[in-house]
């Protein structure tokens, strides 16, 4: 191949002039056309550009056979499976959207039992819910648990099976709520006797973050609020969440965040983020059997904007600092802390646990407590 091109070039230089050139040119053109055809046939046969035949998913954000396992051929178990993408992209007129990638595979286990595996990855584009109670639940679901902040200071969180990113202000809804892109994945293996969680093949926390950021950037473009400044993910994930731990005394090792022993014996706690932008503590029934307590503090401005409009006008309870609303089910309170507003969302927390959580956060951030002073356990 290399010799041929060199030869052709050399001959062109020596004999390019005169009548004899026409025949030679024709030959050259023919050769070039042949080479092109061969190249095209090659790319078509090997499924490379421009004949990839690869599907695109999530508004063009992800491509088949790129990145994590669930987008690759391996996910399809040698042909015993299919991957189906469905999507509705956001538009400037209707800035909400969804997309899903569902993978179904089937194989026969050693005992002849048929095992089916289903993985579903869903991305949504749209605002957080409007009502205060729904908003509170949404915030603890997406910013609590084992979610940790995204790398590079991106306004969102990520964990092994999903993530959340808050889009810039220019993508806010007309009523001022931020637009959010979320990713959530689930995976189950089912056989004749039952089912259990399976491998989703998302490729770990860093890979989830990359999938989320790509979908957010494509979503913003489609909705017409990209403004030429996409989110950029550079850094690796520096820290992974700690494991959930059985609850014996204090939830999340927070002084005074205690739960009586009878209830506590079936509970576990998960410490989430603990930094100046985001802090969270979740208490769950063991083995993923439901949620018990959730507490989150957000100070990162874009994440805190998720709670704009539901933080009330007056103190949430007598003696409390800041503004907020405490109901039987949830509590939201916002107060200045060390120079910026800190917003607390607490779901199902009794009053003493609310005090313990807010005290722990304000103590760490270095500002006055929100709750009226009470006798502190030592």
């Amino acid at each position: 191949m290399a010799d041929e091109t060199g030869e052709l070039a050399g001959r062109e230089g020596a004999h390019g002039r005169g009548t004899r050139g026409t025949g030679k040119r024709r030959l050259l053109a023919g050769g070039a056309a042949l080479a092109l055809l061969a190249a095209l046939a090659g790319t078509w046969a090997t499924h490379t550009w421009p004949f990839t035949g690869d599907e695109h998913y999530c508004w063009g954000a992800w491509r088949e056979n790129s990145g994590p396992d669930f987008l690759g051929d391996e996910a399809l178990e040698d042909g015993n499976g299919k991957r189906v993408g469905t999507e509705r992209a956001p538009t400037p007129r209707r800035p909400t959207g969804t997309c899903t990638v569902a993978i179904d595979t089937w194989r026969t286990a050693g005992n002849g039992d048929k095992v089916t595996h289903r993985t579903e990855i869903e991305v949504t584009y749209g605002p957080a819910p409007k009502g205060a109670a729904e908003r509170a639940g949404w915030v603890v679901d997406h910013l609590g648990g084992d979610a940790l902040p995204l790398p590079d200071g991106l306004p969102g969180t990520v964990h092994g099976l999903g993530g959340t990113i808050v889009l810039p202000k220019r993508c806010d809804t007309a009523d001022g709520r931020p637009t959010v892109v979320t990713l959530a994945a689930g995976s189950t293996d089912t056989w004749s006797r039952g089912s259990m969680a399976g491998r989703a093949g998302l490729g770990g926390t860093r890979s989830v973050a990359a999938l989320l950021v790509a979908a957010a950037n494509r979503g913003m473009e489609a909705a017409g609020c990209a403004a030429g400044r996409p989110f950029e993910l550079v850094s690796p994930v520096l820290q992974l969440p700690e494991r959930a731990e059985s609850l014996f005394t204090e939830a999340c090792r927070i002084p005074g965040f205690a739960i009586d022993k009878v209830t506590g014996s079936n509970l576990e706690y998960q410490v989430g983020a603990v930094d100046r932008d985001l802090q969270s503590c979740s208490v769950r029934l063991q083995r993923g059997l439901g949620r018990f307590y959730d507490a989150v503090m957000v100070a990162e401005p874009r994440l805190a904007a998720l709670l704009d409009g539901v933080t009330g006008d007056g103190p949430p309870a007598p003696g409390w600092r800041g503004t907020g609303v405490f109901t039987d089910d949830y509590g939201i309170v916002r107060a200045d802390c060390a120079g910026r507003p800190a917003t607390f969302v607490m779901v199902s927390l009794p009053r003493d646990a609310q005090e313990a959580f807010t005290d722990a956060v304000t103590g760490r951030l270095g500002c006055d407590p929100l709750a009226p002073r009470h006798t502190q356990p030592s």
């Binding site: 290399a2 010799d3 041929e4 091109t5 060199g6 030869e7 052709l8 070039a9 050399g10 001959r11 020596a14 004999h15 004899r20 025949g23 030679k24 030959l27 790398p151 590079d152 770990g204 926390t205 860093r206 890979s207 990359a210 993910l233 550079v234 850094s235 690796p236 994930v237 520096l238 820290q239 992974l240 700690e242 204090e250 999340c252 090792r253 927070i254 002084p255 410490v271 603990v274 802090q279 503590c281 005290d359 722990a360 103590g363 760490r364 502190q376 356990p377 030592s378």
Partner: protein, 420 residues
């Protein structure tokens, strides 16, 4: 190799076909060639159909050679980056006068399931050497051992930005991102890449330029390992935003040992001249104080404290360039684990509702369970004869620092010696 075939299978080049190579021919019209050349002249040898063939062959050979060179990484494609291909000459320039003179001896970064990662790279010239070590910190030795002494010293500043790493102009270290190598289990320390320039400087000013060079090197090494492990993401170099190291010129105020507010020395212990004046009189106590009091007259201790809000706050109290007392608060649980095995090492038990430790006249360790995980508090007397007031100071230090580290209010009580 196929130059003849190509010429032969081309029926159009009949102009060439009836004139074999090497046969003289009259010069073409427009060409101003003065005389026929000798048969061996290159122009004549490369005449007619031989010329394109030779050109093709030459091109082929060149491409082949270039391809081989590229594949084997030789010639112009030679990769002379050092330490697993992480550091180029530009990276070494800030530290070595002539990067071309640097010789690298490296053991590739390997992984063993029980022991984790290990790799070593030594960059040396005739005048000095820099050692790069990739290893999992050992919970048995590395806290109180040489690693903790040197790599957690207050000359090193935290890299910030969520990175578990620190740097000075003689040492730098950075943990591998957990998203790549996983979170260490309870029995494991974090895996770090560290750089040691050989010198153990304690008191002179930190050369920020050399510190930036070491920081950049350690970041590039970590990024190279991420790459080799197939992990995505690139650690962003924090070298330009490192805080200034403590210059040791800010003395501690009375009643604030190591600038910890409210941490006072016990009344019977006086620094400097106080111990001097009564040292010859009494027995045990004065001889203990002999070294620290003698020779330095009224000199107050100098204190060096890790700046910033990092994983470690180390305070070295020095006299005449020797560290007498080190007080540490290790607030990152991955590093606090390095001190856990010494928690019960000393005679006097320390207890509180959320942690425990032990204490002797010279040393103390306490681990508290806090929201971020375990936080370790450490006191060490580092001179042989000086008696530092560790026994009286340490419980108060733990209480004061626990509040700052976000562990809430702790009450530490010292029990009696537990029979050991």
């Amino acid at each position: 190799m196929n130059s003849n075939e190509v010429g032969g299978e081309n029926p159009v080049s009949e102009a060439d076909s009836h004139r074999p190579a090497g046969v003289p021919e009259p010069p073409p019209g427009p060409s101003p060639e003065p005389a026929p050349r000798a048969w061996w002249h290159p122009r004549r040898l490369l005449r007619g159909r031989v010329r394109p063939a030779a050109a093709a062959a030459l091109a082929g050979v060149l491409l082949g050679v270039a391809g081989t060179a590229w594949q084997t990484g030789t010639g112009p494609f030679r990769d002379d980056r050092k330490c697993w291909g992480a550091l180029d000459d530009g990276d070494l320039e800030g530290y070595f006068r002539d990067p071309a003179e640097v010789v690298a001896h490296e053991t590739s970064v390997q992984y063993r399931s029980l022991d984790g990662y290990s790799g070593l790279c030594r960059l040396s010239t005739r005048r000095g050497a820099v050692t790069v070590n990739v290893h999992r910190l050992d919970l048995r030795y590395d806290g109180f051992g040489r690693w903790g002494d040197e790599y957690l010293a207050p000359r090193l500043v935290p890299m910030g930005g969520g990175l578990l790493g620190m740097a000075s102009d003689t040492r730098a270290w950075l943990a591998l991102p957990e998203g790549c190598v996983g979170r260490p289990s309870l029995a494991q320390g974090p895996t770090v890449v560290d750089i040691d320039t050989g010198w153990t400087v304690q008191s002179s000013d930190v050369d920020e330029k050399e510190r930036a060079v070491l920081t950049r090197m350690v970041v590039k090494l970590v990024n190279r390992i991420l790459d080799q492990e197939g992990c995505s993401g690139t650690v962003v170099d924090p070298a330009d935003r490192l805080p200034a190291a403590d210059d040791g010129l800010t003395s501690e105020r009375p009643g604030a040992v190591c600038r910890v507010k409210g941490l006072t020395l016990p009344a019977q212990h006086k620094d400097g001249n106080g111990t001097n004046s009564d040292k010859s009189g009494k027995g045990g106590k004065s001889s203990e104080n002999g070294k620290s009091g003698g020779g330095d007259g009224e000199a107050a201790p100098r204190v060096w404290i890790t700046p910033g809000d990092g994983p470690v706050r180390t305070c070295d109290r020095t006299r005449l360039g020797y560290t007498e007392l080190r007080l540490m608060t290790v607030s990152d649980p991955r590093l606090a684990a390095l001190f856990e095995r010494s928690r019960d090492a000393y005679g006097t038990r320390l207890t509180s509702s959320r942690g425990r430790g032990s204490l002797s006249d010279r040393d103390g360790v306490f681990l508290a369970r806090c929201q971020t995980g375990d936080v370790a508090f450490v006191a060490r007397t580092l001179t042989l004869t000086s008696s530092q007031p560790v026994r009286a100071l340490f419980p108060r230090y733990v209480e004061a620092e626990a509040a700052r580290a976000g562990c809430g209010t702790l009450r530490v009580t010292a029990g009696t010696s537990g029979g050991d």
